[in-house]
Amino acid sequence: MTSREPGAPIPPLERRIDIADMVSYAGATWDWHRMHYDMAYIESAGFTAPIVDGQMLGALMAECMQDWLGPDARLTTLGFRFLTPVEAGSVVRCDGVVESVEPGKIKCALTVHILSSSGSVVGIAASGRAEANTL
């Protein structure tokens, strides 16, 4: 149980993003950009592995907030900046902390970390902020 006090951590959400997830996401968003699955294209662009669509990390942040606050809460804002490209097969974890609370509203800072195979943080994929109505 986590509290809804400023400074309190929110339950983290961890996920491995494999190429099958990326292809599925590409289909679901009508975005068939070759950066996410076509190795010849990816190498010509100077990368060594398919790059996760950054917006998948935004979806992860939204899910992290909604799962924690429950189905009666409604997300009102979500903003994020991309910091490090995430390669296919990476494990990422959305961590968050409560920034402010007022009646019916909560604001959190969110960070999507890139994890090593042993689970330690090796990078920051994205950072952002979300607000929700909690009435």
Binding site: R15, D21, S24, Y25, G27, A28, T29, W30, D31, W32, H33, R34, M35, D38, Y41, G54, Q55, M56, G58, A59, L60, A62, E63, Q66, D67, P71, D72, R74, L75, T76, T77, L78, G79, F80, R81, F82, A126, G128
Partner: protein, 168 residues
């Protein structure tokens, strides 16, 4: 003195708008497909009764879906595979990076919503990165309305055109 990436010709495009009207309602399959793709099993997106029990008239879209999908644009795929809105800004000697997004969710998106999406170029500014690399920051806004004229979501998107030449 280094030459400016941000030319008058580019700057003249600030204020440009483009409007897309979706060819069909967004539809429940789009919600379920997106939720499955991201591994989000929240029944708000797939179970009408559950959604009604929590104050909605039926399933709602995962919050970020409308800002992510190109379904409404109905464009032909480019050679890169991309089929969404783009400004096709030509800034020689740069590569395009995604900066980030700021979403405001005004009201939930429902399956019967037919989206009208209005993109506009809000600003362009020349900056230098912390490593001394020249870049142009392009700020766009997309507003997503339904067929009743309700504003559903606002999306402020930042694109970074970074010089390939490194520090100037």
């Amino acid at each position: 003195m280094s030459s400016s990436l941000l030319t008058d010709k580019l700057r003249a495009r600030i204020g440009e708008t483009r409007v897309y009207i979706a060819p069909e309602p967004i539809g429940k399959p789009a919600f379920r497909y997106f939720a499955q793709a991201i591994g989000d099993h929240n029944p708000l997106y797939t179970d009408d009764q559950f959604a009604r029990d929590h104050g909605y008239s039926g399933v709602i879209a995962p919050p970020t879906l409308v800002c992510e999908t190109n379904q409404y644009a109905n464009l032909v795929r480019e050679s890169s595979g991309y089929a969404g809105h783009a400004w096709d800004l030509e800034i020689p000697g740069t590569r395009l990076l995604r900066g980030g997004n700021e979403y405001t969710f005004h009201q939930p998106v429902q399956s019967e919503d037919v989206l009208t999406v209005t993109w506009s170029i809000v600003d362009m500014a020349e900056r230098t990165s912390s490593k001394g690399v020249p870049m142009v920051i392009v700020t766009s806004q997309a507003q997503y309305h339904n067929q009743s004229g309700d504003l559903l979501v606002t999306n402020i998107e930042t694109l970074i055109y970074q010089s390939r030449g490194g520090a100037s």
